[in-house]
């Protein structure tokens, strides 16, 4: 068989391989878990404060602190805390407490062992004096680092729901300097919280979670006056995610994190 013939065969085989492997229908379309249900996504990958997706208004209403970006779970993340920023966005259509919903976010604990004495660290909250819901680390006791305090979903000031604290165990010192996934959800008269892909813990109320119970017109992500952390992949969903979906988000995120580590030679 001469060289030209062999080359022709090789080109045909190559064509065949490319035809089979190139441009599958959804190539490059690595959509997040439950993407159809996402009403708000801020992943900071473009180092922008504009969210990737927003069913409601996208422009932040207010920006507190300084905008700094760092490597995230996938792409970039926002630095939050004393050296960082808190962002406030409009609630209508982005988050709806009259229907079930979920918020998921990733955060990186930046040397939290040194955070003795620091107050609560808030990740997400609707800061309204007539009904507050937020996920945060406990404020007390301050003689231990935030790593050793519980992570809580807190409801306050609502005329409809009682002041509530739904707690997850503390991360512990082993949770320092790593990415964590925090997910909270609401559906009917229940709220839920999950950490690092675990099954939801839940709490029942007598009354429904609703916009009447939580009437805020905005929500905030990040913090500008607490323990420093990186915030990434903040998503709001228009339904309650299942335990399996939360686990999938966790596993996918960790795949990205491990990929990044390998790329950095860690």
């Amino acid at each position: 068989m001469d060289r030209i013939t062999l080359k022709s065969i090789w080109l045909l085989v190559l064509f065949f391989i490319m035809a089979v492997t190139e441009c599958p229908a959804f190539e490059g379309r690595n959509l997040p878990v439950a993407s159809d249900a996402i009403t708000f996504e801020q992943n900071f990958d473009k180092q922008s404060l504009l969210p990737e997706m927003a069913a409601g208004a996208a422009t932040p209403l207010l920006i507190f602190g300084k905008q700094n970006f760092a490597k995230g779970v996938n792409g970039y993340s926002l630095l939050c805390g004393k050296g960082g920023a808190k962002l406030r966005y409009s609630a209508p259509d982005n988050i709806d407490f009259d229907k079930p919903g979920t918020v998921s976010l990733w955060f990186f604990t930046d040397n939290w062992q040194k955070g003795i004495g620091e107050p609560r660290t808030v990740f997400f909250a609707t800061e309204c004096s007539k009904g507050y819901i937020g996920v945060e680390t406990e404020n007390d006791p301050k003689n231990i680092s935030p790593l050793e305090r519980k992570i809580i979903l807190r409801v306050l000031y609502s005329a409809v729901l009682p002041d509530t604290r739904l707690a997850l165990p503390a991360m512990g010192v082993k949770g320092d300097n790593m990415w964590h996934l925090l997910v909270f959800a609401w559906s009917g008269n229940k709220v839920y919280i999950s950490m690092d892909g675990g099954s939801f813990s839940s709490k029942d109320f007598v009354n429904k979670v609703s916009s009447q119970a939580l009437p805020s017109t905005n929500f905030s992500i990040g913090a500008d006056a607490s323990q420093n952390y990186l915030l990434d992949e903040v998503r709001i969903y228009s339904r309650k995610l299942s335990d399996m979906e939360v686990k999938a988000i966790w596993e996918r995120g960790n795949m990205e994190i491990n990929k990044n580590k390998q790329a950095e030679g860690k």
Partner: protein
């Protein structure tokens, strides 16, 4: 060799083609389209006639197939000299759903939204351009170089077309129009008669489905695209669709052509439909005048669910040029339609596993599957997938399917509770939840269940003739279902009998009565009454502390109309000055004087309660005075019939009685099936307070003889625990606890070298802060042990932790939810039987390893929503009315009290050392089995103590006389006037004789100094009598209304200390000392030494508001 080569080539080409086009190969979609004379207005409105000179093509295909999708879209594509025009009209989601339009940044994840795509390779074949837009006008644009006839999307180039898009959402459709300048496609001159490769796609969401115009499995590959040719000399061809009712089997397959050429033209339209049904065809040739349009329709009806193959071509008859080619399938088979992601709510299964009951219950809300459900079943399987027992059919209740069934004894393993839903379409949904089974050494123990009588209680006495049962300080005289005599320290405190009134009458006649068992620790009585269509059987279970549990079996004879029913408890007015009732919110319960007046003076619509309970049912009431009283309690209002607008419970003052009226029916109902009421009753005082209790002090050893120093070891690290609520030390290593045992204390306080190794072993790798914390607490215990006589570890029997192995197995049995909530906290564990077993097992270990008693935090009622573990029940609206955990809290305390006694862990007069924190929840049947009760952990801050707690609160719950508990109070003072606030604290606690104080911070040295003065005088000794302000027998009389006084009298020495406290606005306080039994010669202020004038038998003092003065009076100099 050549044959082999040919074979290889043919095979490879064939495989390529088949992979590109799938096993069912068809010719690519084709359009040849004229130039648009008038460009469309890009306003998002596809107007009539606006796009008639463009090509129109109905239908999008399921990916990789020729099969039509379940959602409709039609594409338009045209051009003029400068621009390419593209439009899409696609159906909107049904009502209740929105088009997803969230991405707002160019080149963001536009494909995550409902979007349209245009993928196009111009004839120059240099690159493929991809343009994706959502309805907001946000677009994604990239281009991919073509290499050897194909592309690699990883090799993408920036592409910034000056595209314009517009969208409208109207009439059930999303219409989008796009304009892209041809120069942005690399076109300078219109390339007539040259092939473009074209793909038009509708990216649907909800659910996600990418549906192209041309069959494709590999996007962006030119060979998987359709073909477009620009041609100025041909009519525009349109494939309009299958007709508006095609999904109902009524087809009106429409094509048309518009002649924009300027001269007459002729068009051939050939359409064939091939299926299992009759073949359909349309073959026609039509003349079309210039500027005119012609329509071609193939109409037929086909209701059978069969697959049809449509092949359509439209040709220009004069030139023979192909204007349009389309091949697609439609008909039977699964198509994707809109799926509301919000409808996926509530499709998770809930379950709860009860190891002690060997029971599991499951529930699934299948409302989203609606009428599609054929069958729901549940089962349990082990880790090997083996089903345990049988599958159980789910029962439909409202929107749920539920099942509850017994399980055999399960071996240690991980199991799954499984729900299978069979659907009408043949599919099924499966939900699984995992649970763990593990066995523990403490399960099913009998610790604390010995049938013994623990001091100071004495055996019950029974007089069968008089139908009387007597406990230590109280007793009952039985009549009918209840009693006509309730004895409190020998006095009958009932004004009239306790009765069950039905329809306003007490007309049921006694049928039987019997003492069924009489033992020293328990007496049982059965009785029955009947009349008016009812038989009621009562069972009285008298416990040796004087509590009586009454179970009423109501047995209607057919349907019995009940307009009203209530239990009437009429106490003598003289026995009912105070009230205490409880809901499930600590620190807010009414504990005060019964309001003045006659008639209804209080009802259960008053008072703060949380909205966890529907209506105004309260589970516990006590009415009484300092040394007498009576309480009623129950767990639930199940089987009551209540009008929530009316009072469930009332306190009525009438003539010489104060009546507690418990309205079990205030909304007319019908009793037709048997049911039970279970209630508890208990007169007070239950027992006397501990002899010598005044000697006890918290973490202080006073100098006076007999002083008893007790230390609450809080936090748990003090005795070696890790978690705040672990009832065991870290690693279940009791070495630190043993070091606090009496024989070890002296030595272990000196030699603490074992502390660091313990921390290193059981707290490895902790932060320095944590290490220091643990060490500090362990050493604190050693320090307290040097001067404290009793060390009492802190425990919280309403807490559990997710990291306990025990909790992972028992969480559904212990947690207050109705199904698994997968969480824990400090307050919402019910101390049910299995929890008691666990706690008693470990607390016994603690006391066997050195502890002198136990402290229980949070002794209060709490609500539980679990319909399996107690009488919680479902209301008509599906909400659960919870039950109160009073009975299990009582059982926990009784078992603990008994265990401590059996283990010899007693204090002073041989009663068990059990301290219970009950702030504002002084539940008599629970505190009956406590020795020291802790109150006042509320209203911390800078306020004066007179303003924090009412005197009614102090009398009804704090002083401990009703329950026979030595009173302990918790205090915290903040602010910048701590000295004065400490004085107000002393003013209150001295007046009310509350010497045992747990200081949570803020008390100044004045506190200890003052008590030293009083104790040096002999407080607590047998020589000194103490008369608090509430003691009606006190020789001391206070003549000013807002003044309170406590007297410490040494009648032998003719000396007295009087503490006079202001509870008003300050001013003059006048005290009558004529009853002291001696005439004082000297009187002085014990704090200042200043002399005080005694005016005959009166002493007058000036007091600051809320302050106090201590006077010492002596007969001799």
């Amino acid at each position: 060799m050549n044959i082999i080569l040919k074979y290889i080539l043919v095979t490879v080409c064939g495989m390529s083609a088949s992979l590109t086009y799938g096993a069912d190969a068809a010719l690519p979609s084709y359009i040849r389209t004229p130039q648009m004379a008038k460009p469309p207005v890009i306003d998002g409105k596809i107007q009539e006639g606006e796009w008639r000179t463009a090509s129109e093509s109905f239908g999008t295909l399921q990916l990789g197939t020729n099969y039509l999708t379940g959602r409709d879209a039609v594409f338009f594509i045209g051009y003029d000299a400068k621009n390419l025009y593209f439009a899409c009209k696609s159906e909107l989601p049904p009502e209740g759903m929105k088009l997803l339009s969230r991405v707002r940044e160019r080149n963001g994840k536009v494909y995550a939204d409902d979007a349209v795509e245009l993928i196009i390779m111009p004839p120059h074949k240099e690159y493929v351009c991809q343009f994706i837009s959502n309805s907001l006008g946000t677009f994604f644009a990239k281009k991919y170089p073509v290499i050897r006839g194909s592309v690699c999307t990883a090799e993408q180039k920036e592409w910034e077309p000056k595209a314009v898009t517009a969208s409208t959402l109207k009439d059930g459709n999303w219409e989008i129009e796009v304009m892209i300048p041809l120069e942005d496609l690399g076109i300078k001159e219109l390339p007539f008669d040259k092939e473009w490769r074209l793909q038009m796609t509708r990216d649907w969401r909800q659910p996600a489905e990418q549906t192209p115009w041309n069959k494709s499995g590999n996007f962006c590959n030119p060979d998987s695209m359709g073909i477009m040719v620009m041609d100025k000399d041909v009519p525009a061809a349109h494939f309009k669709g299958l007709g508006k009712d095609y999904r109902k089997g009524i087809f009106d397959i429409g094509f048309s052509a518009f002649n924009s050429t300027g001269t007459a033209s002729s068009v051939e339209c050939d359409v064939s439909i091939v299926s299992d049904g009759p073949p359909r065809a349309l073959n026609t040739k039509e003349q079309i005048a210039a500027g005119q349009s012609k329509e071609f329709n193939l109409k037929y009806s086909e209701k059978a669910a069969i697959t049809s193959d449509l092949s359509a071509t439209i040709k220009d008859a004069m030139s023979g040029k192909l204007l349009l080619r389309r091949n697609l399938k439609f008909g039977s088979g699964k198509v994707t339609s809109w799926d509301n992601p919000a409808a996926q709510e509530n499709t998770e299964m809930e379950f709860a596993y009860y190891p002690s009951y060997k029971l599991i219950k499951c529930r699934v809300d299948a409302s989203s599957a609606g009428n599609e459900i054929v069958r729901v079943s549940f089962h349990v399987k082990d880790s090997n997938g083996k089903i345990i027992g049988e599958a159980i059919a789910g029962k439909k209740i409202k929107n749920d399917y539920r099942a509850e069934w017994e399980l055999p004894e399960l071996a240690e393993n991980t199991y799954k509770a499984v729900c299978e839903i069979a659907l009408k379409n043949g599919g099924n949904k499966i939900y699984e939840k995992e649970f763990v089974v593990k066995h523990f050494p403490w399960e099913h123990n009998q610790i604390g269940m010995e049938k013994i009588i623990v001091p100071p209680f004495k055996p019950l006495k029974t007089d069968k003739d008089k139908r009387e049962v007597s406990a230590l300080m109280t007793g009952y005289g039985i009549k009918g279902l209840f009693w006509d005599r309730i004895y409190s320290q020998g006095e009958n405190i009932l004004d009239s009998p306790i009765r069950l009134m039905i329809n306003g009458k007490d007309s049921l006649q006694e049928k039987s009565f019997e003492f069924t068992s009489v033992e020293e620790h328990a007496v049982n009585v059965r009785a029955s009454v009947s009349g008016s269509g009812l038989e009621i059987k009562s069972q009285h279970e008298y416990d040796y502390d004087g509590m009586c549990k009454v179970t009423l079996d109501i047995i209607p004879d057919g349907k019995v109309a009940i307009d009203n029913a209530w239990i009437e408890i009429p106490l003598k007015k003289s026995a009912a000055r105070l009230m205490h009732t409880m809901h499930n919110t600590m620190k807010n319960h009414p504990a005060d004087f019964i309001p003045e007046g006659n008639g209804v003076v209080w009802d259960s619509r008053m008072g703060y309660k949380s909205d966890e309970i529907r209506g105004n049912f309260w589970p516990y009431f006590w009415l009484g005075d300092v040394y007498k009283g009576f309480c009623w309690f129950t767990a639930s209002d199940k089987d009551w019939s209540l009008d929530y607008d009316q009072a469930a419970i009332q306190i009525i003052r009438k003539d010489d009685s104060v009546i507690l009226k418990i309205n079990i029916v205030n909304k007319p109902c019908v009793w037709e099936k048997p049911f039970k009421y279970v209630m508890g009753f208990q007169p007070t005082p239950v027992k006397p307070r501990m002899a010598g209790w005044r000697h006890v002090a918290e973490r202080v050893k006073f100098k006076n003889e007999g002083s008893v120093a007790m230390a609450l070891l809080a936090g748990t690290c003090v005795w070696g625990a890790d978690g705040a609520y672990d009832p065991w030390p870290a690693g279940k290593d009791y070495s630190m606890t043993r070091k606090l045992a009496k024989p070890e204390r002296k030595q272990s306080a000196k030699d603490t070298s074992d502390v660091a190794p313990f921390i290193e072993k059981h707290f490895p790798g902790v932060s320095k802060t944590r290490y220091d914390f643990v060490k500090r607490h362990l050493l604190r215990g050693r320090e307290w042990s040097t001067f404290c006589d009793f060390l009492v570890p802190y425990l919280n029997p309403t807490a559990s932790e997710m990291y306990w192995d025990e909790y992972n197995v028992y969480m559904d049995e212990w947690w207050y939810g109705n199904y698994r909530d997968n969480t824990s906290d400090d307050y919402n564990t019910e101390p049910c039987r299995s929890y008691q077993d666990m706690l008693l097992y470990y607390t016994r270990e603690l006391v066997r390893n050195g502890m002198d008693g136990l402290y229980y935090d949070n002794i209060r009622d709490r609500t539980s929503y679990d319909t399996t573990t107690g009488p919680a029940y479902e209301l008509p609206d599906g909400k659960i009315q919870p039950y109160f955990t009073i009975f299990s809290v009582r059982e926990l305390l009784k078992r603990t009290y008994t265990m401590l006694y059996v283990e010899g862990k007693t204090l002073l007069d041989n009663r068990p050392l059990l301290i219970t924190h009950m702030t504002n929840t002084n539940i008599v049947p629970c505190m009956s089995f406590s020795t020291i009760s802790l109150d006042l952990e509320a209203k911390f801050g800078p306020a004066d103590f007179q303003d924090r707690f009412s005197e009614g609160w102090l009398l009804s719950t704090t002083i401990g006389t009703q329950t026979g508990c030595a009173p302990e109070v918790l205090v915290q003072v903040t602010g910048n006037e701590k000295e004065f606030v400490t004085r107000t604290f002393l003013a209150v606690t001295l007046a009310y004789d509350l010497p045992i104080v747990l200081d949570a911070g803020g008390l100044t040295p004045t506190f200890k100094k003052t008590w030293e003065l009083i104790r040096d005088f002999g407080y607590g000794s047998t020589e000194v009598s103490v008369y608090p302000c509430w003691d009606s027998n006190s020789p001391l009389k206070i003549l000013t209304s807002d003044t309170r006084g406590v007297l410490y009298l040494n009648p032998q020495k003719h000396e007295a200390i009087i503490v006079v406290s202001d509870f008003g606005k300050g001013g003059k306080a006048i005290v009558d000392i004529s009853g002291l039994g001696f005439t004082p010669k000297t009187a002085s202020d014990l704090e200042t030494g200043k002399s005080i004038e005694v005016n005959g038998v009166k002493v007058e003092l000036e007091l600051r508001k809320h302050d106090f003065k201590i006077l010492i009076l002596k007969e001799s100099e």
